[in-house]
Point group: C3
Chain length 106, copies 3
Amino acid sequence: MQLYPLKLVTVVGESIVMHDIAQRGLKLGASGYTLAEVIGEGSRSARNVGVSGEAKTMKLEFIVPMDVAVKISLHVSTDYFEHYAIMAWMSDVHVVRGQSYYPDSK
Amino acid sequence: MQLYPLKLVTVVGESIVMHDIAQRGLKLGASGYTLAEVIGEGSRSARNVGVSGEAKTMKLEFIVPMDVAVKISLHVSTDYFEHYAIMAWMSDVHVVRGQSYYPDSK
Amino acid sequence: MQLYPLKLVTVVGESIVMHDIAQRGLKLGASGYTLAEVIGEGSRSARNVGVSGEAKTMKLEFIVPMDVAVKISLHVSTDYFEHYAIMAWMSDVHVVRGQSYYPDSK
């Protein structure tokens, strides 16, 4: 068993744009993603979109090398932050036998 | 693009109290949360609540500064651990353009 | 309030085997798990299973000490990686009053 240090990039936001961000993530070098429905409430959604209270949103996750994590984060912040209630963060993970999550090995 | 070090606080437990904890989290300084249905099985649920096998539970997440993470964790452990099958943990994340997740900027 | 350093082990893969891995995790020392439906797309699923596009999968999470995290990861990589579209990773968490998540205290 081998452990590879990679980044978990999480994007939470309005369902309407999350499939697009997922596909863009693949083009930016991610080898996969997961997408799940969540209930969300936040100051960004209330302020930017006029939603008050809980709203259905989606949570998107990628496991990627740092350079791809930066590309995805830049894409999300540049193209979506101004007009959509979206947030994104990254954290450190160790992937078990993670070779296939490097774009070189796709 | 900027990255801010914050805490991801995760609370997993019985659906009946999770909306209350979410609202309390906002009052304690969180600027938002996500809430998702999960299936859960654990020794705490089996021991404390008489549930055996899998039970529907909810997973609640906040992205907050350390001081708010501590307040939420204290609230959950003080008010819920004795009588509910609930667990909570925190981990480190780096939020992309995270300014709005500081309570000062709400 | 006390914080205990533990591992979050996440396994994402085809629904058909995820309940089995969850039960095996309990036998290997985990005191509980959560399981959630997600949508997944990835090179592993496309390559190994012939699925193209998004497929329903499940996300399984355990909070465990390092030795149990290694056992679960070894089990998943040894018994599932060759024939199933599954990935697994671990990350660091701090559990609030985490005593009950050590197998000794079950």
